[in-house]
């Protein structure tokens, strides 16, 4: 894959093993190569998702039919949601940067079960193929929304089975990644790497892995039941046979709410690495951030019902879920405060990753605070299932996870490829992207407050102006994306060779050469008593 590389000893990119060429990648059990496999496959799926997003926005440019039929639109947001959630942001940071960096950051040579790691990627690919098969063959792409709500998901005439099954396989892949990380963190920390010396990114991966492990099987079995319902009519969620559609929603959100923390926790971890590095300063409140990570992971299990305030739950349950939703917001607040305090009296080196990190904090604030509007009972009744929710989760999923992903990509890029990107283009890309983002999603808050329901193919004239702005925003943003990606791809091949530690960071991955050698460390590192991941002197 990598051609010209001047490093004299073999690094993981140039190393030649039993297999040659492409096979040397797709059969490699090296965690770094697997990480890159994930990166490329996730980016491929991501572009499909983006194209669908753009198509939807184009359709909404004007009321009535613009470019597609209602059926196409309904399939578009379903497939867009499934791809973005199950194939992009859930595996995103853990499977890409977690895989590449986690073992190095804790001073290990690989993850605990390298073969299982490769299997996870293969399962990911299998899941992707199954979902794509649902699009191309049979009776049309699924049109149920990514939530597969019963009973419509039994009624829809579209090709749902492979999609549901694909989502199940993707869930399994995610479970195996989580399991692998947990064992790795428990067993393979290098000597002296106590729990309280682990980098925060590793801590967030640890919390994330628990969620993946314990929440995913619930949605797994739920999806299996939907499939069985469609095949045999077992009646479990079918109101005609006595089933309760609301119970389906409970089970779905028991997983899918914790899943949103699977998306955001590693993102927060990446930000917790970047801010101290570019401030050249000890992270503020290391233990508080760890505690908040674990608190989010745990309390996140208890609040799923806030997606169901209008679903017909009992008043008691609504009261309770709303209350806990507010509790889960507090650890996130703690993190934000600690990040900002870390910058206080730092020596801030303003580089591309810091732009991304700072804009992450900004969009995460908007996304998170709008989550509070949704968590309150009275206001959620009003804006539930409107464009407001769509704005909330794009701000936080894609503003949060997406921005953190780009922050991490620009931060670790020199380590991963051993080359530096063009900083000017990287900053330009960020700026265009950021402006586009604001223009794309801010109007949706307004539209939601005006009462425009989501998943609407067509809308009344009164919502026109907001939608025009939003569609323009999508075009600006995609321009930014193209700049960023082109810059990174070019730099990965032709950029200046990068130093070992260009940002003067203190975590272990910066103590190995760029790109890292095959075995990561010749000799396992030993962490001294007064050493630590953020010990800037």
């Amino acid at each position: 894959m990598q051609t010209a590389h001047s490093a004299n000893e073999a690094n993981y990119l140039t190393y030649k093993g039993k297999y040659k060429g492409l096979l040397g990648w797709i059969f490699s059990t090296d965690h770094k190569r697997i990480g890159l496999l994930y990166l490329y496959s996730i980016l491929t799926m991501f572009s499909v998702g983006v194209l669908l997003g753009l198509a939807m926005k184009f359709e909404l440019l004007a009321p009535g039919k613009t470019i597609m039929e209602a059926q196409t639109y309904n399939s578009a947001f379903t497939v867009h949601g499934v791809i973005m959630i199950f194939m992009v942001v859930i595996p995103g940071l853990p499977a890409v940067f977690g895989n590449i960096m986690l073992p190095i950051m804790i001073g290990a040579k690989d993850v605990a079960f390298p073969k299982l790691n490769l299997l996870s990627w293969w399962l990911y690919v299998l899941g992707v193929i199954l979902v794509l098969a649902a699009l191309m063959f049979g009776s049309g792409a699924p049109d149920t929304g990514w939530t597969f709500y019963a009973p419509y998901s039994f009624k829809s005439g579209t090709n749902l089975l492979p999609a549901v099954f694909g989502a199940f396989v993707l869930g399994f892949s995610s479970i195996l990644t989580g399991l692998n990380f947990l064992v790795t963190i428990h067993r393979l920390r290098c000597p002296g790497m106590k729990w309280t010396k682990m980098p925060l990114f590793v801590w967030t991966l640890y919390g994330t892995a628990w969620i993946q492990l314990l929440a995913t099987p619930v949605v797994g079995i739920t999806l299996v039941l939907v499939a069985l319902e469609r095949m045999f009519g077992i009646g479990v969620f079918d109101p005609a046979l006595g089933g309760d559609p609301v119970l389906y929603q409970h089970l779905f959100w028991i997983y899918s709410h914790p899943a949103v923390y699977v998306m955001i926790l590693p993102a927060m971890g990446a930000i917790s690495e970047i801010i101290p590095t570019f401030s050249q300063k000890q992270i503020f409140g290391y233990k508080a951030i760890i505690a908040s990570t674990m608190a989010i992971a745990f309390v996140g299990y208890l609040v799923w019902g806030h997606h169901m305030f209008t679903a017909g739950m009992s008043g008691t349950a609504q009261y309770y879920f709303s209350l806990l939703t507010f509790i889960v917001a507090i650890p996130s607040a703690i993190k934000v405060f600690n990040w900002i305090s870390t910058m206080y009296k730092g020596s801030i080196n303003v580089q591309t990753p810091l732009y991304w990190a700072a804009s992450f904090v900004f969009v995460f604030l908007i996304g998170g605070l709008s989550g509070l509007v949704l968590g309150a009972l009275a206001t959620d009744i009003y804006v539930h299932d409107t464009a407001f929710v769509v704005a909330h989760f794009h701000y936080i999923v894609f503003g949060g996870t997406g921005f953190a992903f780009f922050a991490a990509a620009h931060y670790w890029f020199p380590k991963i490829y051993g080359r530096m990107y063009d900083k000017g283009w990287a900053n330009t890309g960020w700026l265009v992207f950021f402006i586009g983002f604001l223009a794309l999603y801010t109007p949706m808050f307004y539209l939601g407050m005006m009462g425009m329901p989501r998943r609407y193919y067509d809308y009344l004239d009164e919502f026109h102006s907001g939608n025009i702005l939003s569609t323009f925003g999508s075009w600006i943003m995609v321009t930014g994306l193209v700049i960023i990606v082109v810059n990174l791809v070019r730099s990965a091949r032709k950029g200046e060779p990068a130093e070992m530690n260009p940002w003067h960071s203190k975590t272990l991955e910066w103590t190995v050469s760029s790109p890292p050698p095959v075995e990561n460390f010749d000799e396992l590192p030993v962490i001294a008593e007064d050493d630590g991941p953020y010990n800037y002197k």
């Binding site: 609301v246 300063k281 209008t310 507090i330 703690i334 968590g375 009003y382 005006m450 009462g451 989501r454």
Partner: protein, 314 residues
């Protein structure tokens, strides 16, 4: 919707809007302060101005403060959210009850005296309780101006919502839960009238009388409009979710019964069975399970009228 003309359209507007203001107020405060502080730090402690960082490990007092203060604030927000929502839970005893049927993809409203409409007509200043009945899949009844929304769940008992309209006018009513192909067309209007105007409308016998003298054809068409057949069946030959009604009478249709395919003649009996047991004979090229039985909603007389109307569609 937040335009000044429609404020106070129902008794819940006040509570919901207060919650909005409180939460948005706190949110904007934090958003602005934190963003400004962050940008200021990046500027002030820039490497050029501050070449050496001062190492600070943390501060327990601060940690406690910024745990407790947001906690208290969230409880305030929770309180307002709760206060605006609480009254929605229980309908007053003297509410006027209206049954709402939601099906793919239209609403119909049935009043206590049996009158059925496809638009919701309401008297001002009178508590209204809507009993929600979903015929096929989930729908959600959403009237933004009244700040109310409730999912309509098939098979659920005691599925209701209530409110008291407090302003005359015409408001939008949407289906807010995704329900398939024409979800975005599943909307209608609410018309709020003065009490006596409404009573006149409700007992308006001229319409009922007109029904009797009018031809069954016209009656059939009205019934079909009110109950929403045209969401799925067109009159002009175009294929929607179901087959078009154009020229349907007396045609030979290919249907699938169980596993076998056979030809049927569209006659009175076939139409009746198509309405009562739509999934017995499924027209070739269409999916089973979309059209659901109207047994209990349409009487035999209604169907006779529908048939008369269908006969005229050449």
């Amino acid at each position: 919707m937040y335009s000044p003309e429609v404020t106070q359209a129902s008794n819940f507007v006040q509570g919901v809007d207060t919650a909005f203001l409180v939460i948005l107020g706190i949110s904007f405060f934090f958003l602005i302060v934190l963003t400004v502080v962050m940008i200021y730090f990046i500027y002030k402690y820039n490497r050029k101005r501050n070449p050496v960082a001062t190492q600070i490990h943390g501060n327990t007092t601060l940690e406690i403060i910024w745990t407790v203060v947001p906690f208290l604030l969230t409880m305030v927000m929770f309180y307002y959210g709760w206060a605006g929502w609480k009254p929605m839970q229980k309908a007053p005893k003297d509410s006027m009850e209206i049954t709402v049927y939601g099906r793919m993809w239209n609403f119909s409203f049935e009043y206590e005296n049996g009158k059925r409409t496809d638009t919701l007509f309401l008297p001002k200043d009178q508590p209204i309780k809507l009993n929600l009945v979903a015929m096929d899949v989930l729908h959600s009844l959403y009237i933004p101006a009244f700040r109310v929304k409730q999912d309509m769940v098939p098979g659920m008992e005691n599925n209701f919502m209530w409110f008291e309209p407090q302003r005359e006018g015409i408001f939008e009513l949407y289906c807010a839960e995704y329900c398939g192909l024409q979800h975005s067309y599943m909307y209608t209007y609410v018309k709020v009238m003065e009490e006596n105007e409404f009573t006149d409308w409700l007992v308006d016998t001229t319409q009922v009388a007109a029904l009797d003298i009018e031809s069954p054809t016209a009656t059939g068409k009205r019934i079909m409009q009110n109950i929403g057949c045209f969401a799925c069946h067109s009159l002009d030959g175009s294929k929607l979710v179901g087959p078009s009604f154009k020229g349907i009478w007396g045609e030979e249709h290919t249907v699938v019964t169980g596993k076998e395919t056979r030809q049927v003649l569209v006659d009175e009996e076939y139409i009746k069975s198509s309405i009562y047991d739509p999934n017995e004979d499924v027209v070739e090229g269409f999916s089973k399970g979309l059209m659901l039985s109207y047994r209990g909603q349409l009487s035999d007389d209604d169907i006779t009228n529908i048939v008369e109307y269908l006969k005229t569609l050449k």
